[in-house]
């Protein structure tokens, strides 16, 4: 007998459909029927755009009202129809932790944010300090009561978001891609925390994510949504995976790594004896009296694929900005192609060094995708015919032909990312710098970007990329580990994976390939 049959359901969804506009066209969720049970950890997966996040807000009753959308079908919570709950009541039983750690708070300090939840519940103020301390203890953040939220790391913010939800004393907590914006070690910590709290509080939990790997071993049941917002599987994970893989692949669901072929075959030919493209000597950088980087020396040969890893705040982004000549060092030298960066003509430097920012929107400066791609070439006085030929080639290479005349802001996350990379390639730079380009992106986007990067490297472009994604780092020729404002390691991935101690200190995690090898070896 399964857990479901023993347990009465907590939440029941019957033939539920939802759309933002009229119900006739563009249904986000289609005819869903499923139940969630007491003390169960279930997980909902699906490709991006399958309406996963909308579902979370439909379940806690904020949708369709908040977006003036439409819905049909029924949702029952504890056998009572959700529309029979008073405003604000259902949300106290069903809490949500959202994806973006930056935009789920309204107060300045940790303490005030937690008090905000308690005030919503009309808890007497005399009781608040005790409850705040308790919940901070529960999520392991006791020392952060008086901190300002914007000073916390992403992982810490998510813990506070969870703490705020726990104060509601809910029966069900929905986690909407809670770790998508976290670095790998914080992700593991957060998942462990969820598991502990579930055990302690006997809660029902629904995880919504596109990345299954780290959850796979703690969830009781998997629900799979397809691109049309329909449920195509609802069972224990080990029942779904071996059987339904082809179907899931077709739906663009991020498969757990045991069932996935390696992303790209690792290049076996490390460039040897190539001339140095970028050279940094004794570089230091300070900001407002605090050291960001100190005494950095490194050489990057032409054609190398370099990843920079390390904890947040280790100075990775600053180093990249220095390499691009966007800021100037306090001490030390940076030379590009043997010439000091300050001595370069700005125009030529920009044509030779491309820089892809974390948020693609920051780079957009025109109305259409086509104009975005031609912008740089027009500025540099390329011939009309050449501009046209190059742009068309880039558009087709990046699968953007159909979106040629679309506003870049209106594209999907993956398309925006492709446009931002494509704009940097129009003038064929020698060096391409990327600042966490896969951060918060879904499986398809990440996969596509990695394919593009491998292709560029094979064409001879030198690539330096900041990332938290160890699978991506595993593909590189050289990894630089930044720790305590210094380069703590510089060498091949395989050499780094052996330095267990350093990995721990720099809060890095082994890539999946090595983790399984180690397991097999043991």
């Amino acid at each position: 007998m399964s857990i479901q049959q023993l347990n009465k359901s907590l939440l029941q969804v019957e033939n539920y459909s939802f759309s933002y506009e009229s119900l006739n066209d563009n249904q986000v969720l289609q005819d869903l029927s499923f139940s969630l049970y007491h003390n169960e950890m279930s997980m909902l997966i699906g490709a991006s755009g399958s309406g996963k996040s909308s579902l979370a807000l439909c379940l806690n009753g904020l949708y369709p009202e908040a977006v003036e959308g439409n819905s049909t079908g029924n949702i029952y919570f504890k056998d009572k129809h959700i529309s029979d709950y008073a405003t604000g009541e259902l949300q106290q039983h069903i809490g949500i932790v959202f994806q973006d750690p930056e935009s789920q708070f309204c107060m300045i300090t940790v303490e005030d944010e937690l008090a905000f939840t308690l005030e919503n519940l009309n808890i007497p103020s005399s009781e608040m300090p005790k409850r705040i301390l308790e919940v901070l203890h529960l999520v392991g953040m006791t020392n952060n009561k008086h901190k300002r939220l914007h000073e916390l790391s992403g992982g810490e913010k998510q813990k506070i978001a969870l703490a705020a939800v726990l104060l509601l004393d809910p029966n069900l907590i929905i986690f909407d891609e809670p770790t998508a914006n976290l670095d790998p070690v914080s992700r593991i910590e957060f998942i462990d925390l969820i598991r502990e709290i579930k055990e302690e509080k006997k809660l029902s939990i629904l995880i919504i994510d596109h990345q299954i790997d780290d959850w796979l071993f703690i969830v009781d049941r998997l629900l799979v949504l397809n691109k049309n917002g329909q449920i195509i599987a609802n069972d224990k994970p080990d029942k779904i995976f071996p059987e339904k893989i082809p179907r899931l692949k077709q739906e663009g669901v991020w498969l757990p790594k045991p069932y996935l072929n390696p992303l790209t075959v690792k290049a076996d030919s490390r460039p040897t004896n190539k001339p140095v493209l970028l050279s940094i000597g004794n570089l230091s950088f300070r900001r407002k009296k605090s050291t960001i980087l100190s005494d950095i020396t490194l050489n990057i040969p032409e054609g190398e694929f370099v990843t920079i890893v390390g904890e947040n705040g280790a100075g990775k982004s600053t180093l990249l900005q220095l390499m691009a000549g966007l800021i100037t060092p306090d001490r030390g030298t940076i030379s590009f192609q043997g010439k000091e960066i300050e001595n370069w003509n700005e125009k030529e430097l920009r044509a030779n060094i491309g820089f892809v920012f974390q948020n693609p929107e920051h780079q957009f400066i025109t109305d259409t995708v086509y104009d975005e791609l031609t912008f740089g070439m027009k500025l540099n006085g390329y011939h009309q015919a050449e501009i046209k030929a190059r742009t068309t080639a880039l558009l087709s290479q990046f699968g953007l032909l159909r979106h040629k005349y679309h506003n870049p802001f209106s594209l999907s996350g993956g398309q925006k990312r492709r446009v931002s990379v494509a704009t940097m390639l129009s003038e064929s730079p020698k060096l391409l710098l990327l600042d966490e380009p896969t951060f918060g992106q879904d499986a398809d986007t990440t996969h596509e970007l990695i394919k593009t990067l491998v292709m560029l490297r094979d064409n001879g472009t030198t690539i330096i990329i900041i990332t938290h994604d160890m699978e991506l780092a595993d593909l590189s020729d050289t990894i630089l580990v930044l720790q305590n404002h210094k380069v703590a390691f510089s060498g091949s991935p395989s050499a780094l994976w052996r330095k267990t101690d350093l990995m721990k200190r720099a809060r890095l995690r082994l890539p999946y390939r090595i983790r399984t090898q180690n397991k097999l070896g043991r």
Partner: protein, 259 residues
């Protein structure tokens, strides 16, 4: 200490003298009130002089410019008295001189009153006090705080956009049309992102059971104490006193009329 005065009361304590001060056109009243504000600022609050003067100095220059314009273009009503000096085609009379100095000093009073408030008031407490004392609806109070939280994010984003534009060579373009384009290139990404954030934060707040109802308990109970009234009385009272003194010495001028 001024930092511990109830924020709403403090707001009224700088607002009311400001409004009253706008009635006066002599130099005596704003000059001595300015001295009074400075004394209050540096004896009753922990505002550092260096920080204060850094903010104040640019306004000193603006005030001088404003005085100068007023002197040159005073209306007949205000420009009585003998001619002091002539510049270009303009005659500066004792009346217009006094009006100019008065308006300049008045604007300095406004600035120092504002600084007295801004530099000693905690943002969150000010909002909470507006909600608890001035009955601002919670929906608006927390809505404002939720947006205000993003200030550091937007400042950082502005920096990044600047860099991203440099990478794309936008700096290479010039001319008025490009300037308008530049404005748009900064504002659109900031706003687009901001609007998405507004939506997400609002949903997160409502998911925590926030319904906007005015009945709620308060973690920080904001109260009005006798000393808050005393402060208000002091700020307004001293202006009235100074104005009376001014009248006694025959300086006080309200809308061009001598009292």
């Amino acid at each position: 200490m001024i930092a511990s005065i109830n924020p709403s009361m403090k707001a009224f304590s700088v607002l009311i003298p400001g409004i009253l001060l706008a009635l006066t056109y002599d130099f005596f009243t704003p000059l001595f009130y300015l001295v009074f504000i400075l004394i209050i600022t540096f004896t009753l609050s922990k505002v550092s002089f260096y920080r204060w003067i850094k903010i104040f100095t640019p306004f000193l220059l603006i005030a001088i410019g404003f005085s100068w314009m007023t002197m040159l273009y005073t209306s007949e009503e205000f420009s009585g008295g003998h001619v002091l000096f002539e510049v270009w085609r303009f005659e500066v009379t004792s009346g217009s001189f006094e009006t100019g100095v008065s308006l300049g000093l008045r604007s300095l009073c406004f600035v120092s009153l504002s600084l007295l408030f801004v530099l000693t008031t905690d943002s969150t407490k000010f909002m909470l006090s507006l909600m608890q004392q001035c009955k601002l609806p919670p929906k608006i109070t927390y809505g404002i705080l939720a947006g205000y939280r993003f200030l550091p994010t937007f400042q950082q984003e502005l920096q990044l956009i600047r860099q991203a534009h440099r990478i794309r060579g936008v700096a290479r373009s010039k001319g008025l049309r490009d300037r308008i384009g530049l404005f748009r290139r900064y504002v659109i990404p900031l706003l687009a992102n901001g609007i998405r954030k507004a939506e997400r934060v609002a949903l997160a707040m409502e998911s925590k059971g926030f319904s906007g109802e005015s009945k709620r308990t308060y973690y920080h109970e904001m109260k009005i104490n006798p000393r808050d009234w005393l402060f208000l009385f002091c700020m307004v009272g001293s202006l009235v006193t100074i104005a009376s003194l001014s009248s006694y010495f025959g300086f006080l001028n309200i809308f061009g009329k001598q009292y």
